[in-house]
Symmetry: C2
Subunit: 344 residues, 2 copies
C-alpha cells in the first residue's frame, strides 16, 4: 500500500469510526444521540426512538460450514435486539438487507429468514423492510433495529459514577469457547460428510455460540425492581473492551475482581482442555450478549438478591485506571484485546 | 445446484421478498407499514417515523475503476434520501455500515465518508451511527435512513385512482446512458493510467450516473402548491418497473404516451451512438431517482404549470392493463425489464 496512506488496521474499528465521525454536527432537533453507544437516539414527540445496525459478513463473522442458516438468522436478529436492551429500550422493528451469492438457493434464504422470524416472534419484534441483492462471493447480512424507550429510562454508556457497583448478567466466555470447539471439530472432520462431532458435555458452549439470547429478561427484572442502571452496554466484544467503553465515556476508572467474574463449568473445562487461561477467555472472548451495567452503591442488597446478576466490582476515580484484582491479590490493567474485526 | 432447490433468479428480487415476507404479522402498535413500499412506517406518538435501507455491493452496484469514492458515498446517501421523498417524507438520520477489504486505506474510507457527509449537509440529514467491519473482498455499503412525516401527508404506492394523472419529474434514461458511456470508456482505456476519457458533450449523462440528486425540490414545490399525490415512487429500477409497482399496489391500470416521456438531448444522442432504442433506455434504464406520482385529474392545470414536472399519462381500470401508446399510435404492454440485481 502507498506509504502516504494509513492502513485501517493501524486505527482499528473504534479509531476508524472516531476519525470518520468525530466532527459531525447535528442538524435536526429530532437527533439526540449519534455514534458512540449501542444505539442512536431520536426524539419524536414524547418518545425516544432508538436505532441500531449490524453488518455480518461470511468468512469474517460466521462460517457456514458449522453454523446452520436458521441459527445464523436467529443470532443476527438477536444481537441487534441486544443493542436495544443495552440502552434499557425495547426493540420494535427490524429491517433485513441481504447480499447473496449464486451458491444460495431460495430455500437457503428461507432457512435464514426462518431464524430471523423466530427471533422476531420470541422477542415481539416486527420485520418491516430491507433490501435483497446479489454478491460476488458469500453472504452479507445487514440488520437495522428500531425501538423505543421513555426518555427518562434510556441508559447510556456515559452515566457511571464513582462508587457505583459493576454488575454483569449470566456468565462470560462460553460463546468464545463454543467457537473454539466448533473450529476444532471442523479441523478434525476435515471435510468428512459422515463425521459426528464430539460435543457431549459441552452442549452449553455450542448453544451460547450458535443460539445466543438477548437479556430481555434482565431488563424486565430491573424494571420490576425499579432499578435504572447509571450506565449499560452489552458484552459483544469481551468484558474488558466493554468496561473500557463505559469507563472512557463516563470518565471514570474501575476495579473488578477476577474471582467474581461469572464463568460456567463447561467454559472452565474447555479452557483447561485447550490450555487457555480461563480469565482471558472471559475478559476478551466476546459474543456473550450479557448485560454489563452499573448501579448506585445503595442498591447493593436489592441487586445481590437477583438471580443471574453478579456484582463484579465497582467504579473508581478516572486516575485509578481500569484494573482487575487477580485471585492472588495482584493487579492487571484491563486492555481492549476483544475481537476487533478490523485488526490484521 | 440440487434439483429440489429453487434458484433465486427464478423468483427475482420481488418474488424472493414476497416469498420471504408475505405472511408476516405485526406485533407492535407502532408498526404501521412494513415491506412493500419505499420505506417502512412506524407511528410514535403523533409522528410517523419512516425507515428505508439499501445495500450496495462492489462489482454489482458500483465499479470503483470509474466511480470516485466521494461520488459513491454521495450517491449511496442520496438514493436513500430519495426513498424518503418518495413517501412525501423528510429524511432526518442515516446509519452507515461498511464492510471493507484490506485493499482500502483509511484515506479511501474518508473519501467515501466525505461524499456521505456532503450529501447529509446538502439535504440536512444527520449521520447517527453504523457498523464498520472487514470483508474478504471488495466494499459493501449498507445505509439505513430514518425520517418523518405527518400521517396525513404520507404517500404510499397504493393510492392511485382511475383517471388520476401520471406525472414524472426531470428526465429519464440519462443515468443509464451515463453508465453505458463509463463502461465504454473503461473498455477503451484498457488499463492505461494516462488515458483521457472522451466525455465532451455528454457531461450531463456522467453527472446523472455519478452524482444523482434526490428530488427534495419537487417535494417542496408540491407542498407549496398544496398538492399531495395519491401515489408516489422514485424511479430507481426504470419507469416501467415503477409504474407496475404503483398499478399492482393500487389495483389499477395505466396508459402512458411515448412522446410525453421526458428525455434529455444528450440521452438521445448517446442512444443513437450505441444503437439503442431510446424509449427502452427511458423505460428500463433505472437509477434516475426522479419522482413518479399520480394526482387527481382536477389538478391538471396546477401541475402543468410547474417546471420540471411532466404529465405522461393517466391511470385506467385494472382490466385495461399497463400500456404505452407509441408515437405511431401502436400499443405496447409495460414489462418490468428494469435492472434486477437477482437475475442471472
Amino acid at each position: 500500500m502507498n506509504k502516504d496512506l494509513t492502513e485501517i488496521s493501524e486505527l482499528g474499528e473504534f479509531g476508524l469510526i472516531d476519525r470518520l465521525t468525530h466532527e459531525i454536527k447535528f442538524k435536526n432537533p429530532s437527533t439526540i444521540k449519534g455514534v458512540g453507544d449501542d444505539c442512536a437516539v431520536m426524539h419524536y414527540d414524547n418518545t425516544e426512538v432508538l436505532v441500531s445496525t449490524d453488518l455480518l459478513v461470511e468468512g469474517i463473522h460466521f462460517d457456514l460450514t458449522y453454523v446452520p442458516l436458521k441459527h445464523l438468522g436467529y443470532k443476527s436478529a438477536v444481537v441487534n435486539f441486544s443493542d436495544l436492551y443495552a440502552m434499557n429500550a425495547h426493540p420494535r422493528q427490524i429491517t433485513v438487507s441481504l447480499a447473496i451469492s449464486k451458491r444460495f438457493a431460495v430455500e437457503h434464504i428461507e432457512e435464514l429468514y426462518s431464524g430471523i422470524k423466530l427471533a422476531c416472534d420470541i422477542y415481539g419484534v416486527d420485520l418491516v423492510g430491507g433490501d435483497t441483492t446479489t454478491s460476488r462471493s458469500g453472504l452479507t447480512i445487514s440488520i437495522t433495529c428500531i425501538g423505543d424507550a421513555p426518555k427518562e429510562k434510556i441508559v447510556y454508556r456515559s452515566g457511571a459514577n464513582v462508587n457505583d457497583l459493576i454488575c454483569v448478567s449470566g456468565d462470560l466466555g462460553a460463546a468464545y469457547m463454543g467457537l473454539q470447539l466448533l473450529e476444532r471439530e471442523k479441523i478434525v472432520s476435515n471435510g468428512q460428510t459422515e463425521f459426528q462431532p464430539q460435543f457431549q458435555g459441552k452442549e452449553y458452549l455450542i448453544e451460547r455460540q450458535l443460539k445466543p439470547e438477548a437479556r430481555k429478561d434482565i431488563i424486565k427484572i430491573l424494571e420490576e425492581k425499579g432499578i435504572i442502571p447509571t450506565s449499560m452496554i452489552d458484552v459483544s466484544d469481551g468484558l474488558s473492551s466493554e468496561l473500557l467503553h463505559i469507563c472512557n465515556q463516563s470518565k471514570v476508572g474501575c476495579r473488578i475482581y477476577e474471582d467474581r467474574i461469572p464463568i460456567d463449568y463447561q467454559t472452565a473445562v474447555m479452557a483447561e482442555e485447550i490450555g487457555m487461561n480461563l480469565v482471558t477467555a472471559a475478559l476478551n472472548g466476546g459474543e456473550d450478549y450479557e448485560l454489563l451495567f452499573t448501579i448506585p452503591l445503595h442498591l447493593h442488597d436489592t441487586i445481590d438478591k437477583i438471580e443471574g446478576i453478579k456484582i463484579i466490582g465497582h467504579i473508581t476515580k478516572e486516575e485509578y485506571g481500569c484494573i482487575m484484582e487477580t485471585r492472588d491479590g495482584g493487579e492487571i490493567g484491563l486492555k481492549a484485546q476483544g475481537w476487533n474485526p478490523l485488526s490484521k
